[in-house]
């Protein structure tokens, strides 16, 4: 692969491979097993969300409501257990809520043909509002004794590997299998590449689009459960944070074009690793919060600018719907 053919994915990987040895040499304590696991653990939830976003983006959509799906159903679990319901019933309610939410998103996008950006922007607000107004007593839903044992999902470890990392790995394998080995996965790529063409060839595009959003909502819910059990509470206010930009960043930075039909799980992993390395290195260096944002912004700009230099857009390569 010549430098001319180096895509976004290659560039980001190059940045990552450049940054990593620098940190490893310059920062004592960076390249230790314990710190590597911490690094992965800190970005595991982000990575899982990236996978959910990847499924939707590959199918030429976007899911801005992902953070609401992360915050509200798991928050419901914590609230219901706090109110005295059993853990299994609470989990069932949360998954039902996630599926219903995914179905509404998918139906609006696939059947009512509302653009995904606007649909999920509004539905996310709706779900977060519903949570605040009707489901939760406080923004931060606290852990309660009824959940004891469940915190293993976020705090336990398997053979010394923290559970969030294990869950991220499992999610990567599951999503990679779905996208690469199943017919459904092939259909998602086809729809992302050319929706009309896919429909003409007889692919049931609308149900598959609905399914994408249901999967995204369920993965979001799982990520939320991991996050809640990791910090022993569900700060539902996270919906108002900039987390969704980080998720889109991981996906786009990794090289999954927003125009759909391109990329895969590897891209999400690369994007996640780069973000994780930067965050971890800068925390060790005790860089101030604003300093961290500055560095993050500069690295991203460099990656994007290099990409547009090496792979200039023209009429031939530009796709409809390219952002």
């Amino acid at each position: 692969m010549g430098i001319k053919n180096l895509g976004q994915q290659g560039i980001v990987f190059a940045v990552f491979t450049a940054l990593f040895p620098i940190f490893a040499i310059a920062l004592p304590g960076f390249l230790t097993t314990a710190n590597m696991l911490t690094l992965l653990q800190n970005v595991a939830v982000l990575g899982i969300l990236g996978l959910a976003m990847a499924i939707v983006v590959i199918g030429r959509g976007i899911d801005i409501s992902l953070i609401a799906a992360l915050a509200v159903p798991p928050g419901l679990v914590l609230q219901m257990v706090q109110d005295g319901h059993s853990l299994s019933i609470s989990l069932a309610a949360a998954f039902a809520l996630s599926i219903a939410f995914g179905l509404v998103n998918g139906w609006l996008i696939a059947y009512a043909e509302v653009p995904s950006l606007f649909t999920t922007l509004a539905s996310g607000l709706f779900l977060a509002g519903l949570g605040q107004a009707a489901l939760f007593k406080l923004d931060v839903v606290q852990w309660s004794p009824g959940l004891d044992g469940f915190e293993k999902l976020g705090q336990g470890n398997l053979l010394g590997i923290p559970m969030p990392v294990v869950m991220f790995a499992l999610a990567c394998i599951a999503v990679a299998f779905l996208l690469r080995q199943t017919r459904l996965g092939a259909y998602i790529y086809a729809i992302g590449d050319n929706p009309n063409g896919a429909r003409v060839t007889g692919i049931p595009t609308r149900p598959i689009i609905v399914l994408q959003y249901v999967m995204a909502a369920l993965i979001g819910c799982a990520a939320g459960l991991i996050m809640a059990s990791s910090v022993n509470s569900m700060p539902t206010r996270i919906f108002n944070s900039t987390l969704i930009y980080d998720v889109i960043l991981v996906v786009v930075l990794g090289g999954i074009g927003l125009s759909g039909g391109r990329g895969g799980v590897v891209n999400v992993i690369i994007g996640t690793l780069l973000i994780g390395t930067m965050l971890n290195g800068m925390t060790i260096m005790d860089v101030s919060y604003s300093g961290q944002n500055l560095v993050k912004g500069v690295v991203l700009l460099i990656a994007v600018i290099t990409d547009s230099f090496l792979n200039p857009r023209n009429e031939e390569t530009a796709q409809q719907g390219d952002i």
């Binding site: 910090v231 022993n232 206010r237």
Partner: protein, 339 residues
């Protein structure tokens, strides 16, 4: 005692008896207390508006419930305008309220500047402004709230004390950089550290009041400095994450975690009991609510011109530790306050 002394005592006792005997006769007519009617009249039908940074968390819900409980029985109306973390929406709400002319507005500032001019205008228009917990550069009729400098100092002193004879390495988990409460607390931390040059700060980072970020930072710091002896956190809601990282590293009890908060039972006492926190400096929300309500009663009934008197009521902090975390009085329940 001499015989004269005893006679005097007996006489005094006799006179006392006579008065006591006459008193019921007077009381049958009843005696009007001359001030309460005016007090009731001054309060009845008046409105108190409340602008927190957002509802739905223990502090702001607690203040609202407490103030309502105190003032509603006197016929006052307590209304809330929830800007939900938007400074703009808060400023708009304040502007609208000025034209609606409530008797008093309780303001919870998101920063030290934004509302300052508006609050001054409100007081010129005859509305009492009571600021709570996060003050602005404009000092209004009353400020009720925690002294953040003191919180920073006392939390750090506890951590420094716990570190004595250990590694002397500490970490600081700040709130949001833009928040005055966080910056003031940091100043308090610095004040104490200036007196203890032996203590080394290995990390001082902002976690944006976010538990997940606090956990990520603390995990990395603990991996780099497993001999860390203490952490100064800036808010219990965020430091759940800090404590989770300490627990995961198996260092609970070895790393002293000091933080502060409103003292809600699940947010403070339960976590101290479980060993997650070693010290929570509580600014006891129900007391703050009572003090705000008290200020409003006093101001409205006094008829003093808004802005002509200015005073502060810094909250007396309750240190919640293992010793008192189990007691009924150290913490409060939001559900009880709402009853």
């Amino acid at each position: 005692m001499t015989i004269y002394g005893r006679t005097f005592t007996t006489t005094a006792f006799g006179i006392g008896l006579m008065i006591a005997a006459c008193a019921p006769a007077l009381a049958q007519k009843g005696l009007d207390e001359p001030f309460q009617a005016a007090f009731k009249e001054a309060l009845a039908g008046k409105t108190v508006a409340y602008i927190p940074v957002a509802m739905n968390f223990d502090l702001t819900e607690g203040w609202f419930a407490g103030v309502k409980k105190e003032l509603e029985p006197y016929g006052m109306k307590v209304v809330v305008r929830d800007p939900n973390w938007s400074t703009n929406a808060g400023a708009q709400a304040l502007t609208t309220l000025i034209s609606e002319k409530p008797a008093a507005i309780i303001v919870h500032n998101p920063d030290v500047q934004t509302y300052a001019k508006l609050m001054q205008r409100a007081e010129n228009e005859g509305i009492y402004i009571i600021q709570v917990n996060m003050g602005s550069v404009y000092r209004s009729s009353a400020f009720v709230g925690a002294n953040w400098i003191e919180i920073g100092e006392r939390d750090t002193e506890a951590v420094v004390k716990a570190c004595a004879g250990k590694s002397n390495k500490i970490a600081i988990v700040q709130g949001a950089l833009s928040a005055a409460a966080s910056a003031y607390t940091l100043k308090g931390v610095e004040n104490v550290l200036a007196k203890h040059p032996e203590v080394k700060v290995v990390s001082s980072q902002a976690a944006d009041w976010d538990a997940a970020k606090a956990k990520a930072i603390t995990q990395t710091v603990l991996k780099q400095n497993p001999d860390l002896c203490g952490i100064v956190g800036f808010w219990d809601g965020m430091d759940i994450g800090t404590a989770a990282a300490v627990k995961e590293a198996g260092l609970t009890g070895k790393v002293f975690v000091a933080t502060s908060g409103g003292g809600e039972r699940r947010g403070a006492c339960e976590l101290v009991k479980s060993g997650a926190f070693d010290l929570v400096l509580s600014y006891d929300v129900p007391t703050q609510a009572e003090q705000m309500a008290g200020m409003i009663k006093w101001l409205v009934s006094s008829g003093v011109k808004p802005g002509s008197v200015k005073g502060s009521m810094y909250t007396t902090l309750i240190p919640v530790t293992k010793e008192n975390a189990g007691s009924e009085t150290a913490c409060w329940n939001l559900s009880d306050l709402k009853k």
